[in-house]
Symmetry: C2
DNA sequence: TCGGCTTTGTGAAAACGTGCACAACCGATC
DNA sequence: GATCGGTTGTGCACGTTTTCACAAAGCCGA
């Protein structure tokens, strides 16, 4: 009798659930069994009402006057995010970044094992990175199908990003995380996430510049600006 | 007679300006001298009205019936973002990620040279990464002051991120880009950007899961979801 | 069982961001 | 110098996100 109409969770909430999940998991490992929205909000650096509203999209899992049971909430968030099973990913690009990502354990540790790496450079094909053998880009289809991969990561130079995206889509991947400094075009229905270091730094530069101007100009400084995105190293 | 009251540019616009800037720069290098909001919107993957509104915050720099002069617009965006001079950064953490970041050229190439790297591990102190000698975290103050650094990058494990943030703030840094999978607390007035790989992947997992459920459930699929953030590899 | 304390869940308002639609305007052509 | 096609800049309406504020509800002790 629980959730009939598959709830549609606002994108802004979806972006915060992983943060709550991480905090709750850490707290649970530290022996904390219950938490209030106030406590969780404090740790997540957000407003308590926001936490409650976010969690309310999952269902009514809190107890008034008491708070939330950490273990149960962890389970519910994981279920809602689809983290009850692993999501192998395929990495396109075995250069510096691709190798760093493949070698980064926090990847597999968090349920996203590297299921394959491909590159166009024959010199790189055949080498082993992060325990996975690099295949040629042209073999991406079989690689994706063999492990039933639906998430692809683009770790190529910007100039090759669109080709990588096209290859991923052709191979059947339906979600892409793009590290290349390029806007990629994908068919409707494909999800795209972006991580662009230069953009992040330029946003910070803007705030720095603003601070400087304000300081030498007139009035006060003060840049409220909260956290921006979430990501793991 | 230009801009009296220092315009306050919406955060959403600030996050898009770097993307316009990159596209315009590329186009200019390709010999393109003029562009309409339609063309720029197409390349940036956004709505044309949004482009015009974003650019209007910089001033009225377009010509009706014609479009925008690329070179001039590049200059204006760079000026507004504070990219008319370099912003050296200090990296905290000389592990895998710190080394990868320090060695990544797109860093310095885009006006953010690595002005210093620090770590707590004595075994790493003294080694040279990306042309810069690793110093001990305790020396971060002099490092920051010597090069007048105002932007810090946290590339430590999550458990050390808060200490890194505290050290950066103590040293006088006023903007922080956090790659660690942890929410950091900073005093009011400090800008924080976040890049969290796990969060990005978990957001994609949510959409994948939704797609799957919808498919086996009833109706159509289709996940509009646009790009997410910006970043460079 | 009742009352007081606490905390959730949510309606409603405010703030923010997006996209449409169109008047204002420019350059070109006649 | 008037007309016309094209593009900007922006008012307005809409949708989304955040925040407030409070009724509903659970726990505990008397």
């Amino acid at each position: 009798m629980a959730h009939r109409t598959r709830r549609r969770i606002p994108e802004a909430t979806v972006a915060r659930l992983p943060i709550y999940l991480r905090i709750l998991t850490e707290q649970f490992d530290d022996g904390v069994t219950g938490m209030s929205s106030d406590q969780l909000a404090e740790l997540a650096g957000v407003n308590a009402a926001k936490v409650r509203k976010d969690l309310s999209y999952l269902g009514s899992y809190g107890t008034r006057g008491v708070g939330y049971e950490v273990e149960f909430l962890v389970y519910q968030i994981r279920r809602e995010l689809g983290l009850t099973h692993d999501w192998p990913v395929v990495i396109v690009g075995a250069g510096n970044l691709g190798q760093a990502l493949a070698g980064y354990n926090g990847f597999g540790d968090r349920g996203f094992p590297v299921g394959g790496i491909v590159d166009v450079d024959d010199a790189k094909v055949g080498s082993v990175v992060g325990g996975v053998r690099v295949r040629h880009l042209s073999e991406i289809g079989p690689v994706v199908k063999a492990r039933n991969i639906s998430i692809g990561v683009i770790a190529t130079p910007g100039s090759a990003a669109q080709d990588a995206a096209d290859a991923l889509v052709d191979a059947g991947v339906t979600s892409i995380l793009n590290f290349a400094p390029t806007v990629i075009n994908v068919p409707h229905g494909i999800s795209v996430g972006k991580v662009d270091l230069a953009v992040e730094l330029q946003i910070l530069a803007y705030h720095e510049q603003r601070r400087t101007n304000a300081a030498q100009g007139s009035s006060l400084v003060s840049v409220p600006r909260e956290t921006h995105r979430g990501a793991s190293a």
